[in-house]
Symmetry: D3
Subunit: 270 residues, 6 copies
């Protein structure tokens, strides 16, 4: 089974971190196809960047559907474009925030999220409501580390995050930690060992949930609001995003290759 793991930002090195975490989580028969967003910001730290990043996510999902992906993972903790992506996919589409929160609720009665900049906290809080996690998520904690700073050796990101996790365990009445950024994916195992509680990285969580759904033969519902978008004209810069009749028949949203499709292919896709 091929799972497309889409990095919604345009920083390829971060795709590498994400892909490594995805592969570590993947079952033997699973192939991880990492994809870097073809367009958009180099990191995603707010509503505006989420909205712009959604376009590349949708392009990547559409492309993946054309190539027979078994599932799609949106590897940014704001889950940009999630419901939109489900409209154009037959295959399951999983966001990493969604995945991490769902799994956290299975191993603890309460969890805290440790994330990056304070300004992204609101995005997580809105997702907590959308996913029904108000009573499970005890607190969303920002470290004020920028996303791209996570990979900066001089930042002591791992130390800062570990310290915030410890505060969460001491103050929040929480039994598990959810890491609130795809760029923290490599820290989960180490932190779990150090802190002695489940520390959940959404990338691995989403890969396993994707495998679960595919293993059960469960695809995205095409009845109701997740049905393929209606066939209609699109104009201007994003005209290539229009679905055509062939897409609709296949249960997908877009058939024409986007102009930047060449750039969509990730390391595994060549």
């Amino acid at each position: 089974m091929q799972i497309r793991v889409i990095n919604p930002n345009t920083t390829e090195s971060m795709t590498g971190t994400i892909a490594a975490a995805a592969r570590m989580a993947a079952a033997p028969g699973t192939t991880i196809s990492p994809v870097t967003a073809a367009t958009g910001p180099v990191s995603i730290e707010g509503h505006y960047e989420e909205a712009v990043a959604a376009i590349a996510v949708l392009e990547a999902v559409r492309a993946g559907e054309g190539e027979g992906a078994a599932a799609h993972v949106i590897a940014c903790f704001g889950d940009p474009g999630l419901l939109a992506a489900r409209e154009i996919a037959r295959a399951p589409v999983i966001g990493i925030a969604e995945a991490a929160m769902h799994l956290a609720s299975l191993v603890a009665t309460g969890f805290s999220v440790v994330t990056t900049l304070a300004r992204t906290r609101i995005i997580t809080e809105h997702l907590v409501v959308a996913y029904g996690m108000e009573r499970h998520c005890r607190r969303v904690r920002a470290t004020d580390l920028p996303v791209l700073g996570l990979a900066d050796p001089g930042s002591d990101a791992a130390g800062v995050i570990a310290a915030e996790c410890r505060r969460a365990l001491a103050e929040d009445g929480t039994g598990a930690i959810v890491l609130g950024c795809a760029g923290m994916a490599d820290l989960a195992t180490d932190l779990s060992a150090k802190l002695g509680v489940p520390v959940i990285d959404g990338v691995g969580a989403a890969v396993k949930l994707a495998e679960a759904l595919v293993g059960l033969g469960l695809a995205t519902s095409k009845l109701g609001d997740l049905a393929p978008p209606n066939v209609k004209p699109y104009r201007g810069l994003l005209a290539h995003m229009a679905p055509d009749a062939e897409d609709a028949a296949a249960g997908r949203g877009g058939g024409k290759r986007a102009p930047q499709d060449r750039a969509l292919a990730g390391p595994d896709a060549a």
Copy 2:
């Protein structure tokens, strides 16, 4: 005061309907600058189309900020790109679903929404939660009229909508009706008269709320998550959406003109 009224879809005739409703609502000193989305679908009836349409909304808001708009109205009932737009605007940004629901809650203890295709109902239901209207909104009712069918003389759209409103009043324990599509903006006055209850069109509602905020000197908060997006590189097709330092200083998100900016100018803007 100049209020940009942005039609997030690319159908110019619908911009006309919207602009007319906006002008009917506007106070003497208000200028309505209608804008048609420069890119995206001709109508918006689902999550996917909302996501694509958000790009044109953001472009239009950014352009409006550059031109000194006093406020921005997003004239599609899904309020696409609303929080993202607020990040790049100093001026208030109002969505029409938001506006209609807030005003409805001031004239009735409960309201029903009458909208277009059944598949869009979920979008309204999610907004009802986002805006805290769960106890005010009694029901979201679909007519299964497509958005562009509203303007089709053969559709009897007005009759179909009136009939659904009557069912709402009879069955939902509701005291007011919210029209769930910008394309219904021209029906509100007539329906109010016929049904004897407040029938609220979001376009007019948003214009009045924009005037209210501007009149009070209230701008979008720039403290916290609605601060201007951080300055960082954007790649690919949407690279023009990157904010630059000048934008950030001005409290805006993007300074370079988008390639399609020429097309952004609406009827009033020439």
Copy 3:
């Protein structure tokens, strides 16, 4: 358009502060008719005083309806008598807490309320639920300033309130401040400038929302629970509050002049 701005307490000097704020907010064509409660406590700082104050509010709304008011504003942050007033009014009736919270939710994703005595906090918390603002209102903060102390030059009320606002911005993850008392109406502009975030006074907010509704031709729904009270006898001290058939026909609750109507007329009404 004439907007009745009702001070539910019986302190005329506070009516002056309120009227000044209302006039500063009003559009050119709007006339503000300030009204001081004809009966009740000199300030409102609890459930009991709210209940008593509601009577004068209802008398004032009824009188205003008789005089053709375009809208009514209830200028006490507990919004006393709001739904009752809507039953006897065709014109819109707006509470200042309601108005401030709705507008705050349009310019920030979260706000804090800064109010007077700690004992009034519960009233605001109940309104937060009633208006669906649980996810927008981050915290209600008391200063323990009594209402009438706000106007006391020796109280340093402005300083105390500014300090509490600063704490709110530092601790609550909040992007805007709502001032929780009509007596603070004169502080909003100055605080906005000092704090660099939207600071919202409910009096101005309510005037603008009233203008908005009137401008759209939206009146209080008379279908369902906000219909005029049924015509029936009232006994004793409050017998004058009984609606009569003429009121009901006019969509109002009370036709006979209340005994204290003479005293109801505010500065503008002569």
Copy 4:
């Protein structure tokens, strides 16, 4: 122990029905002191009438406190003036809607309310939220019987109510019925027998809860928002409602006898 059972409307015959139900519920050592509202409407069927009726409720509670009442029951299903009354009472104050809903939640996992006019449904729905009964109360059903029609022999009120209860049991997935009007108090026993499920009258329920609190020595908390109202001047028709220092010391809101305890001469009755 003396329990004041206050009929918030001014119809003495209804006080009789209420008093009979209260006495039937009372324990051997309990004395029921029925009180008819000294002022206000003859029946309560809306927000406006609730607001007016609250005054007489407060007068009655204050008088009862002066006479050493052990507890107060507010015998109207909208619980008018409940929190205000608690401020001026040391003794417990119980509303009948509150009482009925709490007891219903102890004998069934879900209940339906059967009430009078449709326009009063919203009042119950707001109380359902205030009392945390959203998940227990399955539906509020109106019969469109006016309150005073309940006692009209020609109305077949008992039959109409029984029929609505049967519909509730058949359609709502409900295990108990709450009668939504003090005027139905005499029907509960008979309906319980006929329907084979608990049918709960709030008057009896409130008497028993009052006995429970008194028996446990539990009085209304005077810490925080239910503390006695601050001593301050009141003006006009309701000037007698001002608490004085003696009241405050006694933990009550008003010490002067209300004018209508002697005679209701007119406005500002000296």
Copy 5:
């Protein structure tokens, strides 16, 4: 009226404390029949112990039904087996957490719970949701006293609890205290006097609610999900818990005497 007060743990000395509190609360005509769990842990401080304790609770309720108990009280603050017990009882069944929270909401607008070990806090928090007390319960505070330590003279339990109550009153904006363990039942009166606010012990509260329901003739609803369990075979160690046809006819769940029924009899039952 005979009320069975069931101590769900197997520590007889704690049954003594509970029985004393119940008798102090009981009305003259009420007989308290204390019952110690025939099986299970000596104290209950977690989900697992609650689940085990539920068996003895059900056995005790079944036995009590056979002996004509007028009502059953489950005297552990987690209310173990509450809904299950209601299926096999015609008589009312009241949990002490439920009872305490309901009564607390009648004397204060907000309360705090002071409980034993931190690990039990989650159980209370889940009950707060189940009983609709999210807006009334301001905080659940643990003292980290073990249940059986409450009776240990060297523990200074009373002092520790009083100190935590004082913190609650100072920090939580709370007007009443709910004691979160049956083992604290003897502290309520003294704490009320010391702290000057209502301090509510669930044992007494449940006895009074049981008296209230019995006094009103209200029994557990047998319509719907609280109907007697269906008659069907049970196997293994708990085979004696199977209801038989005779039970079902009597509205009870189990007719055969449980093997440990001999041990179920408490001090009063001989």
Copy 6:
């Protein structure tokens, strides 16, 4: 990896159905160890039966922990004993209701549950709240098929269920179906094909979630309320359920073999 799939009822044939569904879902490296409850009712259709069944579930989880199970599945749609089981397990414990609802929320924006007897609906509704699925679960529908009737060839259970699913899709605005009983596990694939929407069986879903957690190295949190039960004496029939020090060290609740693992002699089986 060995996953214990526990049938909480004592009907071995139903264990067979459950085991077959579990094996169909299991990944190549997974071994399914089916367990039939050693004690309790032959089917579970109410609160009482859930409470009794929890004991066997806990015994099975404890035994499984002793045997090195990688995960535990509780295969009854009420998830009996779930949190209690987590206290005594290091390995993940998954309930099938929980599993089905979480996965359903990933493939549709709304789902309906189709279950057995009407009396079980409340159990699902309570779980919907516990799992935060209020906004995803559109309706819980009963078929009034008894659990053991599902396997009765004469019952046309498959037809009845299919018909109810069709009604759900037509009326509930739902995109997926959750089967509300472990006994329906064999119907999911066929129903998915017939209805054209995801039909989710909790047994398969729980197996896949267990594999996911194990694959990620995520175990049940032992910090806070899911820590092993404290070591303390248990008395009477269930004395064998007491954890001992060895259990606690291993992070488990009970080390001694339960009496029914060998033979069920009687009470207090030595």
